[in-house]
Subunit: 336 residues, 2 copies
């Protein structure tokens, strides 16, 4: 594996100076004669010298690298967060190493090992649905490497967390339906043991309560988010003696599929029944009718998380349990 790499020693030998002088010239240290510096810089340029971060990091104990682990990168959700994180990291001189746990606990653990071995200065992570044991993350804290959680956070660990205010967004969009005159609003929710499902459902219920609408358990469906079973639930709702005049779906894919199912039955949206989703996926604006939903501040989440991480790296020790709640925003289209 000859890499033909030019080192400062090569440059030093060629110019009959010491490696110290070359190092100084290359790092912009003032204590070096301008003439010498110019010669060194010129030769470095000519020989396409690239500083070897490995040895620098070995000495300085900083890699200027942040790790980010996300559970998937297929949808646009995490890429948007990554973009935000990248922007802030880059501005602060950090390099971002992206890793995908693929919603698999073992892969996540393996990813953290790689991050540790590669000495990242800090870690951003959104855990998988399977992650229940956090030993692979507490080890970072024991080694004083800051960790910041985002989106899917770990309640058991003392670390800054950045999340979306699901309760608030669910409340807002339910309120919108109520203000549009809807009286019987159904909820197609996710599994109750999933925190985000629970929060969204609670926001929905709280809103119904505020406007003194009855909370009809018959109108609340908690399913496992497997779209294959959705037609059963949607048809069940539509077949009720007193069917709903609106549906608030726990996420956009559910809402979009519900639209398909409802249209198949010949009902008009939003005239016969209104549908709203959650998170403003790429497809939300493309379906017919375009879906009213809540857009989540994903880039903002990435920015906030990496800023918190960088802050922690810079003044190590003052680790606080900051929990940032970011608000979503109503995106009004035609489905409600």
């Amino acid at each position: 594996m000859k890499k033909n790499l030019v080192t400062i020693i090569d440059i030093a030998r060629q110019l009959n100076v010491s490696k110290s002088t070359v190092s100084r010239a290359l790092t912009g240290h003032p204590r070096v004669h301008p003439e010498t510096r110019d010669k060194i810089l010129q030769l470095a340029e000519e020989w396409e010298y690239q500083r070897n971060m490995l040895s620098i990091s070995l000495i300085t104990k900083r890699t200027n690298t942040l790790g980010i682990i996300v559970p998937e990168i297929q949808s646009s959700f995490f890429p948007k967060v990554i973009m935000g994180a990248q922007e802030i990291a880059e501005k602060a001189g950090y390099n971002l190493v992206i890793s995908n746990s693929n919603e698999c606990y073992e892969t996540e653990v393996a990813n953290t090992k790689v991050m540790l071995a590669n000495q990242v200065d800090g870690l951003l992570i959104s855990i998988t649905k399977q992650t229940l044991n956090f030993n692979h993350l507490t080890i970072f804290q024991r080694k004083s490497i800051p960790v910041v959680f985002f989106n899917r956070v770990c309640d058991e660990m003392d670390a800054p967390k950045v999340i979306v205010d699901d309760f608030d967004s669910a409340f807002k969009i339910t309120e919108y339906l109520i203000k549009k005159g809807r009286k019987r609003i159904a909820h197609l929710g996710g599994p109750v043991n999933l925190k985000i499902s629970e929060k969204r459902m609670n926001g929905y219920i709280a809103c119904l309560n505020k406007y003194q609408l009855p909370v009809d358990r018959e109108l609340i469906i908690n399913y496992d988010l497997n779209l294959e079973k959705l037609p059963i639930y949607v048809n069940h709702l539509l077949n009720l003696g007193n069917p709903p005049d609106a549906i608030f779906a726990v996420n956009d894919p559910t809402a979009i599929d519900a639209i398909r199912i409802i249209k198949k039955r010949g009902l008009r949206i939003p005239d016969d029944i209104a549908i709203v989703g959650f998170s403003d996926d790429y497809a939300a604006s493309l379906v017919d009718p375009p879906l009213t939903t809540v857009s989540l501040p994903l880039a903002e989440m990435g920015k906030t998380a990496s800023q918190l991480l960088i802050d922690q790296i810079n003044h190590e020790g003052q680790r606080k349990i900051i929990i940032k709640m970011l608000k979503g925003e109503l995106v009004i289209r035609e489905s409600a």
Copy 2:
């Protein structure tokens, strides 16, 4: 920045052995007494020892890291490629560092510098639309670091390239329309100076020729892919004295928007006019009617590219100008 890191020397001191012995035990070298090895392994576990890849890489001159630079990660296109690349890289024991050039030449150059400084063993890249100068990439070759291009390739450089066979896919989907009995097939194409637009258009024209259908220049529109202007072009086609009975769009967003525009005019799809897209975006199956399109083997592209890269790393020197053309596959839905 005290990181409290455990080193092999710490372990060696504690157990009264030399660092060489610890190193041997930890790397699974056979020449170490089972009893000694067990003691070392146990203490390493207990102290949460993590090998420092920086120093290992410094010696071995291999980081077991591959870099991948993509022009964007907002759409699902590149994430799919990355997934494929990641799978192969992981299997071969490589870590993948993902970088986003954001369709900006300067960022791409900066990204390559970071990759060089961090000593990646090889680079996968899909260049930005702006990239015309390739000095930041030829430097990799001069330092004998293999480079593999994918999707957006550089014709000027001798390196393996993995691309999608746009001509073939365009041909296939045009052929499908013809076999469905369509006689006047329009093409909503991209700018002619963009290579992929050109290839897709050529596939379309070649297919018409093969089936002895006239190539009517009036039915071919080359636009700048800015969807805002699309209604003008679509309406222009529909207002022709002899309007088309099918439209082949250069990509899915164009096709999806065309569907919206056509439905607004009260025409039925596919009865009045058939629409097909290109690349099977996430939204293609969700629109109404679901879009017939060509799915591109994106994960396959990532896999092939990283395999080619790893092959090159392993038997350095035998760099060949392999160009792999991957075939797309018809995805038949209801819009045609």
